[in-house]
């Protein structure tokens, strides 16, 4: 099964289970959770089912294309079900079968692994799903997002697409994966990995460290201030985009070694305050909209 076949199989499976197929957030983010289809939609009472691929950038994991398992950018297949169906574990196992993984021939386990994103004021309880000792999925019952308690509780299922494809294709180097028939993952992405890693760690750029840091700091500050202005205007979706840019800029400052400890904490706190503000306002709007709808119906 090629990398793109895997995406198609999962998309078909979840669409058949009532999920809306969304598209990736067209911004630089570290995980599918940052997508408003997750971050905002899990707030408030309205039920929602959605699935999408999210290319996810982790500057710190960049390895210049030399590590067979680690990438600056990898792909997540993200599923959000709100509320979480009773049979969700079984449905998930069925999705593996749809991808050609027969749980009766492997050791599939749900091992405790809770999830937390301090920068998003978010946490949840759940497992990492292990397939013959390989972590292939993060499975989380969201409890809070942006500091807001969630009711109903959403389940987030995040498949690591490269990992699963490597398992299915029995390859030990991600760049050897078959993306499409006759096309290797490395052909599609290797150059991007090399260049993005050099950028993330500010290596071979010829840009002095202080200039690199100063540029990203000023970008952070400008985006941060602008996110606040947009939030003041109640434009929560554009405001979230600027907040996510801040989050990514912070990751770059961190990976390039541009910030110290105290500053690091302060940056995380600033992103968190923004995320909490946006989520609170979105939740309040969602509650009000649901109440209005109930009144109309009643």
């Amino acid at each position: 099964m090629t990398f793109q076949d895997l995406i198609l199989k999962l998309s078909t499976f979840w669409a058949s289970r009532g999920c809306l197929l969304q598209q990736p957030l067209d911004l630089e983010v570290g995980a599918g959770t940052s997508h408003p289809e997750t971050l905002f939609r899990v707030l408030g009472p309205e039920h929602w089912q959605v699935a999408y691929v999210q290319p996810s950038r982790r500057p710190d994991d960049g390895r210049f294309g030399q590590n067979p398992n680690r990438l600056f950018k990898h792909h997540q297949f993200q599923v959000i079900l709100k509320p979480s169906p009773d049979e969700i574990q079984q449905i998930y196992l069925d999705s593996l079968e749809a991808c050609g993984i027969n749980p009766r021939q492997h050791d599939v386990r749900f091992e405790e692994d809770n999830w937390e994103s301090p920068a998003l004021g978010a946490w949840g309880i759940g497992w990492q799903v292990m397939l013959d000792g390989l972590e292939i999925t993060q499975f989380t019952y969201f409890q809070q997002v942006g500091g807001v308690n969630l009711a109903p509780v959403s389940v987030e299922i995040t498949y690591g697409l490269e990992r699963i494809a490597m398992f299915l294709q029995k390859v030990d180097n991600v760049f050897d994966l078959e993306w499409a028939p006759g096309v290797k993952y490395g052909e599609v992405r290797l150059r991007e990995e090399v260049e993005q890693s050099k950028y993330a760690f500010n290596q071979d750029t010829g840009i002095p460290a202080d200039e690199f840091a100063a540029f990203h700091r000023s970008q952070f500050d400008a985006n941060y201030a602008f996110a606040g202005r947009l939030a003041d205007a109640k434009l929560l979706l554009p405001a979230l985009e600027y907040a996510l840019k801040c989050s990514h800029l912070f990751n770059l400052l961190d990976s390039s070694g541009s910030i110290g400890v105290t500053e690091r904490t302060a940056y995380i706190l600033r992103v968190r305050q923004l995320a909490v503000r946006l989520c609170r306002e979105y939740a309040a709007e969602a509650e009000a909209a649901a109440a209005a709808k109930a009144e109309l119906a009643g």
Partner: protein, 742 residues
Amino acid sequence: MDRELLIEIGTEELPARWLPGLTAQFGARLEARLSEWRMPSAEPIETFSTPRRLVARAVKIPERQSDFEELVMGPPVSAAVQGDGQLTGAGLGFAKKQGVEPSALERVETPKGIYLAYRRHLRGKATVDVLPDVLAAALRDLQYPKQLRWDAQIEDGRGELLSGRPIRWVLFLYGGRVVPFDITRTASASSPLVQDIRSGAVTFGHRFLTTSGRAGRAIKVKGFDDYRRRLAENFVLVERGERHDRIARELDAEARRRGGRVEVSPAGQDALAEVPDLVEYPAVVSGAFPEEFLQLPAEVLTTTMIHHQHFFPLVTDHGTLMPAFLAVLNMEPEKPETVARNLERVLTARLRDARFFWDADRQQTLEQHRARLATVAFHTGLGSFRDKADRLEPLARWIATDVFGHPEAADHAAAAARLCKADLASNMVRELTELQGAMGGIYARQEGLPEAVWKAIYHHYLPTAVESTGAPSRADLGDAAITWAAVALADKVDTLTGMFVAGERPTGSRDPYGIRRAAQGLVRILADLPELTGVHAAIPIDRLTAKAFEAFAGHAGLADAVAALAVFLGERVASVFEQRGADVRNVRAVMTGQHALVPLTIRRRLDVLPEFTDTAEFKQLAVLFKRVRNIAKQLPEDSFRAIEAGGGALSALTDPAELALRDDIARRAPAIRHAVDAGDGYRRAFGEAAAFGPAVAKFFDDVMVMADDPAVREARLTLLRRLEALILQLADVSEMVPQSDS
């Protein structure tokens, strides 16, 4: 008639590390609630569990609650009954409130007088009607390390039901019949795919294994024996012990097949502790990894296998690692070799990563890693680990030189302290955090640093156990014993003083910064210092803390921190010795009245004290000493000191008994003082103290302490104060008065 109660709470996978505690809790809570509801189990409740179920079984529960009698108190007779015996308004009101005729009331005598009362009889309800409340209460009682909200509720008036993981089914049988019980779902989650959970007579087998039909289908059961048999048929072993033994047996057999043996607990990591709680139906497979990885440090290999994959490393008969591992599956796979190949690939990928880190880290010296510690946070109020390392260096040097009296070890101690945190900036420790310390030690060894330095770095997080036999041993430490102790103490005392200055205090079970562990380690090193290092100094804790606090001069929280830390460390010292098995009263006795907290002398006194506490002589002294302390209070401490400083006032003593006591004190004092000054000879000292009994007894029999003549009174009180001060240097013996005599 008594009948069997069987409850199974079917859940999604519970965390393995919670399972043993949670299982015990479930049994204990049910037992407590059954007793509270007056239908106690005739025998202890049996409990079982797998990652997907908590099970409790009571062999015999009565069919009805026992009847209940309650005495409802009314008004006092003086206010409720008139002279003619008729009830007053208050009395009639009480009868009416109880819904009975006045004639049904009785009179009850209480310490406050005679009262009107009504004795109400309640007939016990049928057990089956009460059991739902029992289970609801027991589920509410369960305490999880982390609670999950999952849109569930019980209709018991207490709203939302939180639990460790979602509950999927409830098997609830009493006498073979289903007890009705519902967990309902909140309105906001209501949907066709989110349903109430209703109790039933069914359980579920293994997720994937079955002998017939579809795996995971409902299985109807009649009672416990049937339940257990049907589950075994469906690949679930409900007894943890059975899973554990099966795993141990298969590991052993598979290891022998591979020509090695299993290293179950290398370096104190008990690999078998969690595995039985990760599986319902264990089977063992083995695999291999390329021999080239054996060049990695053994610590890296075992940590990767045990912590990250729950694999068991294989070793040869000589204890050296083999390029092979065993793994416990929750499966009996059709093709075990396929699963084994997959496990090998995962492990090899991890080891390849580890080798990358190993190679990359060694491109730089620890000194270079140390430079990057500025970006690793220690605590927001206390800066980075670089700041911490900068504090540790002079502190460790000072401990080696001034505290231990070993200036020749000072340079090595300082060098080790300077580098001990450097591995936190290494790739390996960022990935395998369990290897902090050990990895730094290994890198230091690779760089060719002396044993006194690298071993000090390697072990500086230790000790973590309170027992005197816990790691590290003198043999582990080799030439590094003294430098290790200096660095380990410096690290712990810096953490303690720093965290207290920053306002951190461990509360309840919460201790995110490991403050309690640091205190425990500090106490242990000081208490076992001679055995660990050959240094015989008896070191007061506050000597170390006072020095460490100097680094935080000018901090706002300093004054509070000094006072709070002293109290906290006193508690931790007591706790360490109690955990080591010392009697609580003995601990209190040797710690009361001491001017300084010196773990080594506390330990030495506790070592010999139990030899005396049960002797008749000592018990006599304990009772008398309590009296001594009570009376001696009449002479304030400073007056006593002034009198003693002025050369004493014992010339007013005349009675033979008091003169005898005076002489007894003079005779026995040197041995006691010697023990206290030298820090040993406590056995002889306690022997001398115990022998005071007769003289003190005679003194109290013959002499009236509070004499009318102020000079005589003062002399007698001074004598008692002197005795008190002498014995208090050993222990507050009065703490050991037997309960019945106190």
